[in-house]
Symmetry: C2
Subunit: 331 residues, 2 copies
DNA sequence: GTGAAAGCGCTAACAG
DNA sequence: CTGTTAGCGCTTTCAC
C-alpha cells in the first residue's frame, strides 16, 4: 500500500494525495475528505524513506551515548527529546560503549543522511575529525566537548565546580585532600583535576600527585581509590570524586574500614544522580543541570539544522554544590 | 557527491560503482582498484536512504525502552547490540517514558520501513495491537510480554522467582512477609505477586492484601512501602520487593527507624543491578540473565527477519536468587 | 484545484 | 566484465 495505490482508489493523482498528506491548503475540501477517508480505511502510512530521499531530510536526530549504564544521561536525553519533539524531530539513541568503531559506525548515519543531526555525549575520535564533522553536518557536543575542536557545545564549568568544593574543604580546615578520578583524559575530567590543583595552589597547599587516583568510573574503582588514599600519610580527611559511582565505591570502602564518612573523612561526589539520597550516609554531590544541558544542546543543534554555517557557540551552564551527610551536611 | 559523480570521475557506469560498493565479485580487479581510490579520494559514502528505498530494508532494528533511568536495561541492550552486529544490524534505541503516543510514534518506524524490526522492553498498547504488529513486522518482546498477545518473547519465570524467595523465607521461620510492588499491572509484576500469593497459600500462610504495597518503582516508593508495612501488626520480618530501587528505598527507611536490615527485617530486591553490592547492607536480589535476555531476543527477531511467518516462540530463561547482607547473607 | 512528470540515490535485471 | 535502464515512494515544479 503506497501513495499510488491510494491515488488509484481515489481516482486522483499521487500529487493530490501527497498534498493532502502534507496539509497543502490548495486542495478542495471535498477532495481532502475523500482522500483522508481512504487513507484511514487502508491504514496507509507514507513511506518515510521515499520522503527522506526526496526531501533530503529525515526529521530525526541521533544522540550518541557512551554507555547505557550511567543514570546521569537519562535526564539529559529527556531534555533533548522534549525540546526536539516541539520542533518535530524524533530522537534516536545509539550506544558506543566507548568503542571508536561503534562511534564511527553511528556517525555515518549523519553522512548517509539517515539523521539530520547529532548530539554527542562523548567522543573518542580526534579533534580534527570533530571539527570537520561539525563543519559539514549539524553536530553538537554535550557535557564533553572535544579539546581544540571547533564545534558547538554545552557543558558546566567543571574546573570551577571542583575548585569551589576544594576551597570549601580548605576553608573548613582540611589540610590533606584526595581526589578519585577517571583515566579517560577528557575535557570534563581534566577540568575537574585542574580545579583541584588550582584550588590547592591558590590556598597554599602543595600538590602531590599521589593524592590523585585515576582509574575507571565503576564502583570498585572508587573503593580501590579510597583504599589507596587511606594509605597516604597523613591520612586525607576529604575526598573529591569525579562521579557519584566513584564516591559510592569510596564510602563503601571507608565504612568497611570503620571510618566514619562525613565525620572522619568527607566525600564529595559528582553529577548528583538520584542514588545520592538513598545511600547511607547520603552523598554530597555537584549537580549538573541535566535537563537544561539536553535542552540547550538541542537548541544549538537546531541553529545548525537551520543554517549549517551559523557560528559555533560554547555554552556554560551553572552547577550547584549539594551538601549531604557525606560532607557532614553543613554549608 | 553521489554514486553518479563517482561514476563520472571514473568514466564508468553507476552500475559498476554500485557493484564495487557491494563487493560484487564480477568486477575487474583493476576497475575495482580505480573505483576504490576515487571513492577514497572524495570520501564518498553511499546514501543509505537511496539504498533502503531500493532494497526495502534498512539493516537497522529498533529497541523500545520505557526509560533511560533504569540500569537494568543497560546489559540487555548490550546483549542485543552485540548479537545484532554479528548479523550486520545496527540498533537504535528509542525511549517512550511510558507514554503511549511516544510508543506509537516510534513503532511507526516499523511500518514506515525505517527499521527492519523491533525489540520492545515495555509496551503500553493493547494485546490485539501487539498481535497484529507481530504478525506483520518482525517484533519481539523482552522481559515484559503483553498478556494474551501472540508474539515472540523472552523473559524469566517471575512467578517462580518470588515463589522461591518466599518459600525460603517461610522455611527460615518467617511468618509475616510483606511485598512492595509496582502498580503497572504488567506481566512481570503480576507474575511476581502471584508467586508471593502462591507460596503463602502452598505453605499455609493466610494472604492479606494489606501486606502488598503497590506504587511506582522509585526509591521513595520503596521507603513509603516499608513505612506502611512496618505499621502492620504483627510487624513483618521479611519484605520481597519487585525491584532493587524499591528494596533500596525500603532499607533506607528501615535504617532510619533503627531497624536492622538482614537481622530484624530481611529485604529481597529484584534484578540484581550493580548497586546491590555497594549499599549497606549489601542487597540480596533476584538476578535476571540480562545479557542473554538481550541476546535471545535478537535471535528470535532474526528468525522473524528471515521469515515473518515463522512461529512465535516464548522463551523462559533461568534466574538466580542472590543472598547478601539484607537477608542475613545465608543460603 | 488538480495532474503530469521529473528526480532524490541507489540496486538489479537484462543485454551485450 | 560492464552498461543501460527501470523503478523503489515520495515531493514539487510546471502546466492547465
Amino acid at each position: 500500500m503506497n501513495i499510488k495505490d491510494i491515488a488509484n482508489k481515489c481516482n486522483l493523482s499521487v500529487a493530490t494525495i501527497s498534498r493532502v498528506i502534507n496539509n497543502d491548503p490548495k486542495v478542495a475540501d471535498s477532495t481532502r475528505k475523500k482522500v483522508l477517508s481512504v487513507i484511514d480505511k487502508y491504514k496507509f502510512v507514507p513511506n518515510i524513506t521515499g520522503r527522506s530521499l526526496r526531501t533530503q531530510k529525515s526529521n530525526k536526530i541521533l544522540v550518541l551515548l557512551p554507555t547505557m549504564s550511567n543514570q546521569f544521561y537519562s535526564e539529559i536525553i529527556q531534555g533533548i527529546e522534549e525540546t526536539a519533539e516541539e520542533k518535530g524531530y524524533a530522537i534516536l539513541v545509539a550506544v558506543t560503549n566507548l568503542q571508536e568503531h561503534q562511534e564511527i559506525k553511528y556517525l555515518h548515519m549523519l553522512r548517509m543522511k539517515h539523521v539530520d543531526g547529532c548530539i554527542s555525549l562523548f567522543n573518542t575520535i580526534e579533534a580534527d575529525a570533530i571539527t570537520s564533522l561539525a563543519k559539514n553536518y549539524p553536530f553538537v557536543q554535550c557535557c564533553e566537548p572535544t579539546m581544540n575542536a571547533d564545534v558547538s557545545s554545552v557543558e558546566i564549568n567543571n574546573r570551577q565546580a571542583v575548585y569551589d568544593v576544594v576551597k570549601q574543604f580548605i576553608d573548613k580546615g582540611h589540610k590533606t585532600i584526595g581526589m578519585i578520578s577517571g583515566d579517560y583524559y577528557k575535557t570534563s575530567e581534566l577540568g575537574r583535576e585542574t580545579g583541584y590543583q588550582d584550588a590547592l595552589r591558590d590556598y597554599g597547599i602543595k600538590f602531590d600527585k599521589n593524592l590523585v587516583v585515576k582509574n575507571f568510573y565503576r564502583y570498585e574503582d572508587g573503593a580501590i581509590g579510597a583504599k589507596k588514599l587511606m594509605a597516604y600519610k597523613p591520612r586525607p580527611t576529604a575526598i573529591v570524586c569525579a562521579s557519584d559511582s566513584l564516591a559510592l565505591g569510596a564510602t563503601s570502602y571507608l565504612k568497611s574500614q570503620g571510618i566514619k564518612v562525613g565525620v572522619d573523612v568527607c566525600v564529595m561526589g559528582f553529577d548528583n544522580t538520584s542514588i545520592t539520597t538513598y545511600t547511607s550516609p547520603t552523598l554530597s554531590s555537584i549537580n549538573q543541570p541535566r535537563y537544561d544541558l539536553g535542552k540547550e544542546s538541542f537548541k544549538l543543534l537546531y541553529e545548525k539544522l537551520q543554517d549549517i554555517n551559523s557560528v559555533n557557540k560554547k555554552i556554560i551552564l551553572p552547577f550547584q554544590i549539594i551538601h549531604r551527610e557525606s560532607t557532614g551536611c553543613d554549608n
